[in-house]
Amino acid sequence: MEVEYSGETMTLNMGPQHPSTHGVLRLELKTDGEIVAEAVPHIGYLHRCFEKHAENVDYAGVVPFTDRMDYCAAMNNELGYVLTVEKLLGIKVNNRVRCLRVIMAELNRIASHLIAAGTYGNDMGSFTPFLHCFRDRERILDLFEETCGARLLYNYNWVGGLMFDVKPGFEDRVIEFVDYFEPLIADLNRLLSHNYIFIKRTAGVGILPPEVAISYGVTGPNLRGSGVKFDVRKDDPYLGYEEFDFDIPIGKGEFGPIGSCYDRYMVRIWEVKECLKIIRQAVKMLTPGDVQESIPKRIKPPAADVYMRTECPRGEMGYYIVSDGGLKPYRVKVKSPCFTALSALPYMARGAMIADIIAIIGSIDIVLGEIDR
């Protein structure tokens, strides 16, 4: 968008303590009245030296740290890490572990997308969808709590297995939740997604064309919102995702150019429906077994390096682990999906209005804990 600036700009410091920068992001906005000439994100307020910590504990001890990166989707973070270590060790897990991991990951994906959609409504000034989303997310957290005792940071996926097997009747409760939740997506759409004001606020704002999205390395729902059909679960399957029948929703550009905030938001809503499909299938595939049978007594991988990527709710999360043959990893590097999404923010923010900046930040759904690590 070409915008003429009247010359003098005002610097507006947005964050790190701001209600809707989703954590501790600081944006330095050069504003001309309501129009933003330039937005410079400053990160690092939540830096907790995850990667350095990981070099000083054994392989199993890293898992709780991965929980604390993207705290909205801890199950998915752990999953990526343990799969990487298992790849390094060459461990094959049994079917029960695999299915439970899929169920947990997809439930957590729903919980994460509910936060994304709810807070996005809140950013747009509509408070009610936020609490409706949190009400439904609560049911998922209850399921996690009964399984591993934690509601946010689970430490549930272990290298080679799981912390606990699920409680009796867990499958029924999962299906009960799926049945309860499926019709509520339509409610959310009526309340927020199809609201005329909401569409006016988000469609046509923060356009990220497909080629730009690819060149910035944007992944996950943000990339799919731009109309690129790429999902690690389909294109580079892990955990046997190729056996599940599900679609990859992509942005359609219904109310404006493709790749707008609305497309990114809607991709998440559609993805929740696909998650429900996967959960139903995974519950059917669940077979009895010992979830701890392949947990190694001591994790001492050979000197090698390994990279593995998984599809987290916020995009492609990659782990690069270098082992020197000792008990502790030599180096753990995380490829963060939110970081790449945030790097595209200055592109999207150019020439937008202050209210649009909030819409764009909300639509890329960043978690600062994962960017700063």
Binding site: T128, R201, A355
Partner: protein, 352 residues
């Protein structure tokens, strides 16, 4: 005011005082009465807002303070605000910073003087009542700009500027919508407007003719913008501007802004009731049976119904962007209001 003057006559030897002093006393007494009434109303509107929002969001809302459904919650909150430290930022413009909340509150409160609660219950039935309301409510914009400027905070400044642009713009379609009724009545007095609608629901201007029917919606939407309620709450847009023009305010000064917002809600709902919903007049015509409900109760019930709609909208809708807000005002509301005014004018000339 007249009824209060009659009450005061019961004080021994009150009638012997000079006439002007009697009127002064009666005015003072009615001001106190309406101030107390407004404050109590605000406390319960806040409670109602919290309950309405809570039930819309699958929550319970306040449940503990006072016992029954947390009825004393807002009283406790008001006490807490009174006891809080009053912070004035070091770099703020001290005088303007102190005056701004008072000005906003006075502007909101002064408008209640001409609200006709009943046939006798009105502080003063000015012959230019409607004009007075329009004039006095737009005074609050001065307070909002003062608060935004004096806080020496960029978010507050943005809030103040947005507030000024929004309130000044939406005054125009609101005033034009009011004119459609005034043309038909031929008077600016609030009581005259109510009297023109006596005789049941079909006499209310809302249902009288298509032009006033449309004008009601124009006025209602514009009044939402004037009192900064969602979807027009961009001056205090929480997710963008933290709290807008009152970002830096705390304690009782913050409470003044809060009070003003709710008093403003009462005022705009009261004006809408007076102009379009028959004010204190009864719902059913007199020939259908005895009219048992007292006027003030009728008026209050209609006002609360409108306020409920305001709350309902607030918790259901997202917020507009600032340019969309201006678009709605200048390109939708204003032309529409002018068409309604023209139609109403034709009716006034050719129908009667």
């Amino acid at each position: 005011m007249e009824s209060i003057r009659q009450l005061l006559q019961m004080i021994p030897r009150f009638g012997e005082l000079p006439q002007s002093f009697q009127i002064f006393c009666a005015l003072l007494a009615s001001c106190v009465v309406i101030l107390v009434l407004a404050l109590v109303c605000v406390l319960y509107l806040v409670w109602m807002e919290r309950k309405v929002s809570a039930h819309m969001q699958d929550r319970l809302g306040p449940m503990y303070v006072g016992g029954w459904h947390g009825w004393a919650q807002t009283i406790a909150d008001a006490l807490k605000l009174l006891l809080k430290e009053d912070i004035i930022p070091a770099e703020a413009d001290g005088l303007l910073y102190r005056v701004a909340p008072v000005l906003v509150f006075v502007a909101a409160f002064a408008a209640t003087a001409v609200l006709p609660f009943g046939a006798q219950s009105i502080v003063t039935d000015l012959n230019i009542g409607v004009l007075y309301v329009v004039a006095i409510t737009s005074l609050s914009v001065v307070g909002i700009i003062m608060a935004g400027w004096a806080s020496n905070n960029k978010y507050a400044l943005y809030g103040g500027m947005r507030g000024a642009a929004q309130i000044v713009s939406y005054e125009i379609p609101a005033a034009v919508a009011i004119m459609t009724v005034v043309i038909l009545v031929g008077s600016l007095s609030m009581q005259d407007i109510v009297r023109a609608q006596l005789g049941g629901i079909h006499r209310w201007f809302l249902f009288r003719n298509p032009f006033t029917f449309g004008a009601f919606f124009v006025y209602f939407i514009c009044s939402l913008a004037e009192v900064n309620r969602t979807p027009f709450d961009i001056p205090e847009a929480e997710s963008e501007l933290v709290a807008g023009y009152h970002t830096e305010y705390s304690g009782m000064r913050f409470a003044f802004f809060y009070l003003a917002e709710y008093v403003n809600m009462i005022v705009v709902a009261g004006v809408a009731t007076t102009l379009f919903l028959g004010g204190w007049s009864q719902v059913l015509p007199a020939r259908w049976g005895p009219q048992l409900i007292p006027g003030p109760v009728m008026f209050t019930a209609k006002v609360i119904a409108l306020i409920f709609v305001q709350m309902w909208l607030r918790w259901a809708l997202p917020r507009l962007r600032v340019d969309q807000l201006m678009y709605v005002c200048w390109k939708v509301m204003l032309p529409f209001a002018f068409v309604l005014l023209l139609g109403s004018g034709f009716l006034a000339v050719y129908w009667k």
